[in-house]
Point group: C2
Chain length 128, copies 2
């Protein structure tokens, strides 16, 4: 077992959250734990970043989730969980590419959110 501790949290007032960052214009903030503030000093507005997060509201994974209807659409044939972005996965890890709109102290403002308010953030990486 590998243990992870969130580095921060998503904050957004949006209620209607798109299923994927690829189609999202939703804005919000990533509030980073102040002890990690030095780690975000080189993140700048306009930049794209990769955000790794925890699907904290997913139910525990069970073998029936190994193949799922994409987007929960029962008209579409089931696909293997590792070929879709469903939040119901063996390890509830999500990944989004967001655009930075501002950085102030420990708060990164972003656009393109597909995470709900309160989502725990595990890591941020440069986008390549």
């Amino acid at each position: 077992m590998i243990e992870m501790e969130p580095i921060g949290k998503v904050r957004t007032q949006a209620v209607d959250i798109p299923r994927s960052w690829t189609v999202s214009e939703v804005e919000g903030e990533m509030v980073i734990d102040k002890k990690y503030m030095l780690g975000i000093k080189d993140i700048h507005p306009g930049e794209k970043i990769v955000v790794i997060f925890n699907f904290h509201q997913s139910r525990p994974f069970n073998p029936e989730d190994l193949a799922q209807h994409p987007r929960g659409d029962h008209e579409r044939p089931k696909k293997g969980v590792f070929s879709i972005c469903s939040p119901h996965r063996p390890n509830p890890i999500g990944m989004s590419v967001l655009t930075v709109t501002a950085v102030k102290e420990n708060i990164i403002s972003v656009k393109g959110l597909d995470m709900i308010d309160g989502t725990p953030i595990l890591d941020i990486k440069p986008y390549r």
Copy 2:
């Protein structure tokens, strides 16, 4: 604290592993736990996949790692850890984009490895 359990492991005979998938031609295999085999049924040769893994050999994170010389090159000014791909991060999570060359039962052959032999795999996602 969030607990994760590997879904499989990297197997490669390569000894000289590039620092990043963006410059790697290294081949190897991802051996997926058989209980998750149904989950990889839609992964096909030629496809690119996102692989989330654990930097299992990284030392515990300490505050000095919040800013690091990129690629360990002391000639380059230190950057915030969330703007570089160093394995020394608050949560030792890595992400690579690999090309699938073959899939047979529970084994995915890949090209572009920047993970060492034995690296625990946490998740696989479609590349977009």
